[in-house]
């Protein structure tokens, strides 16, 4: 059983995989599956993954067979284990609990050769709907407090399988940076009675401003944040205050988000020659319901520079590209529509 352990100083929880322990000789980088090799995410190989927990099959058909357009399966090598109790306990001054949680993979398309940015807008919206449906389902598990949705695209961004996919980790704790955002935005609200993200959207889109705006849609804004850690870091925020991703209201809103997400990924692809990238959906804890001080958003981080351990070890980032320059460049990209 993996363990969740808490650093006693900063309160950061980490997952320690006690089962798949890696010895010193096991640290060669995991190979990326080649286009020509066997792929467990391709149609026809449905029996090579654990049984699906969600699938979109427009033409119908039985589970775990072909005919799907989006498919969600448990990770075959999960970081957390769905069965069991938390068994919270101490070890002297330390705190730990069992590594209970869900680790799922959203296979975004049957087509091995394309990326999320290449899919039609309606298909991207179906992927976003799969995220939503899984969050709603996992929210019913009272042991779980957070559902983290993230995408590693490209080997240098940590992807170990080439077939385009998103991951979802549901945890009994709140990941460190999300807790910091929750704390920071609550303090801001206590001071001002306003959501800090609503204020950011208002300031960035005010008339005469817009230097950091990358693209907009009816209901969402994509912008380069004021203090980005990484070159070309781009956030997508809903214009309307909503604490949680799964509260995306209707199909129209999902389509609008899909359009802007695809737009931004295409701009990054054209500007940076299809870079490896990560995105993470920052949303409120599932146990918290609707918070007036928190505002969900997507953080997209192209992987262009090496992150030295020093930056991880100090939390101090040096970004060689001002966000105003990055936004101007991305705005200037002409997309074929």
């Amino acid at each position: 059983m993996p363990e969740l352990r808490k650093d006693p100083v900063v309160g950061r929880w980490v997952i320690i995989s006690t089962e798949r322990s890696r010895r010193p000789t096991n640290f060669e980088p995991a190979p990326v599956v080649k286009s020509t090799g066997f792929c467990p995410f391709c149609p026809g190989n449905e029996d090579k993954t654990p049984p699906e927990v969600y699938a979109l099959r427009p033409g119908g058909g039985p589970p775990n067979g072909p005919g799907w357009r989006v498919r969600v399966v448990p990770n075959k090598f999960p970081a957390l284990q769905i069965e069991g109790t938390l068994d919270r306990r101490g070890e002297g001054l330390y705190d730990k609990m069992n590594g209970v949680g869900a680790h799922e993979v959203v296979i975004e398309t049957p087509d091995h050769a394309v990326d999320l940015a290449d899919l039609p807008v309606a298909h991207v919206a179906e992927v976003l709907e799969a995220y939503r449906a899984r969050v709603v389902d996992l929210s019913r598990d009272r042991r779980l407090r957070y559902v983290l949705i993230f995408k590693n695209h490209g080997a240098n961004a940590g992807a170990t399988l080439e077939h385009t996919h998103t991951q979802l980790i549901a945890t009994p704790i709140i990941p460190r940076i999300l807790q910091e955002e929750l704390d920071g935005s609550r303090r801001y609200f206590e001071l001002k009675e306003r959501c800090v993200f609503c204020d950011i959207v208002a300031q960035e889109t005010a008339a005469g401003n817009g230097r950091r705006v990358v693209a907009t849609s009816e209901r969402f804004v994509a912008l380069a944040p004021f203090a980005p850690r990484f070159p070309f870091e781009t956030w997508i925020l809903p214009r309307r205050h909503d604490a949680a991703y799964q509260m995306v209201a209707d199909e129209g809103e999902l389509l609008d988000l899909a359009r802007l997400l695809k737009d931004v990924l295409m701009r990054l692809n054209l500007a940076l020659d299809r870079p490896p990238y990560n995105f993470v959906i920052h949303t409120s804890p599932v146990s918290d319901g609707d918070l007036e001080y928190y505002h969900w958003h997507i953080e997209i981080m192209p992987k262009l520079t090496r992150v030295a351990g020093f930056e991880i070890g100090s939390g101090f980032y040096i970004n060689p590209t001002p966000p105003e320059d990055a936004a101007q460049f991305l705005r200037g990209i002409t997309l074929e529509v």
Copy 2:
């Protein structure tokens, strides 16, 4: 002039290099200087660096000439600029200030072909003394609040020059993770009237415990932390409570630290085939003097796994190697002394 900008939600300061802005085409990784190529850190090339701010010349001799054993110079491409005023200011809801600070390089040895772990203990102590002297000197600058000492070893850990060196960045703000440690250890002290790091040292070295101890010396302990983010992450802590690195008492203490640091680096080299690594010295802010709740230490992080942006974007780490296994393995290494 570079800028220091603060994220309005989590309060994290980043350096934005407004001068050396990188356009999308400039992101090819910086080449590592080959052993045979020109090296600005080698003896005879002293005029290829900015004038030295510290040097150890056992045989005497003029500054900026050969004959040194340890040499500290300003970084030729500094992330922060030493001249100027902070000029703290707002931009709507955002906060920023000028990127004032120091960025120096500690050239650990004239010998291009060796690493810190290969130097004799007395020479490692001289490197540690150079760190101390620079912190003491930079502490006199009232604009600066923190001196961050860190080492990137190997291209995959972010080193851009091969000749073994340490970097030092002095900043007018406190880096994020250090602020978190300060906050966390202060809360612990308020609750218990004890230093959390002293408690960690006591628990880890208690009789019958020691599963996470890697090595010890008279005055220091090297251990795998209870909740490490990375495989084989190793911390070195002084047994005696001291808030600040520069308070290392005497030559004997520096020698003792040098012995243990070399010991740990040699174990990592033997266990992991000379891995790239980073270390960061965590110490109290220079403006704070001696804190009863904070305890300086060194965090050493071998770079064995790819850190996905997701981990940086969520603060959530999955570590495949339990620290007990890592410590046991490192303890079992036989060092030729």
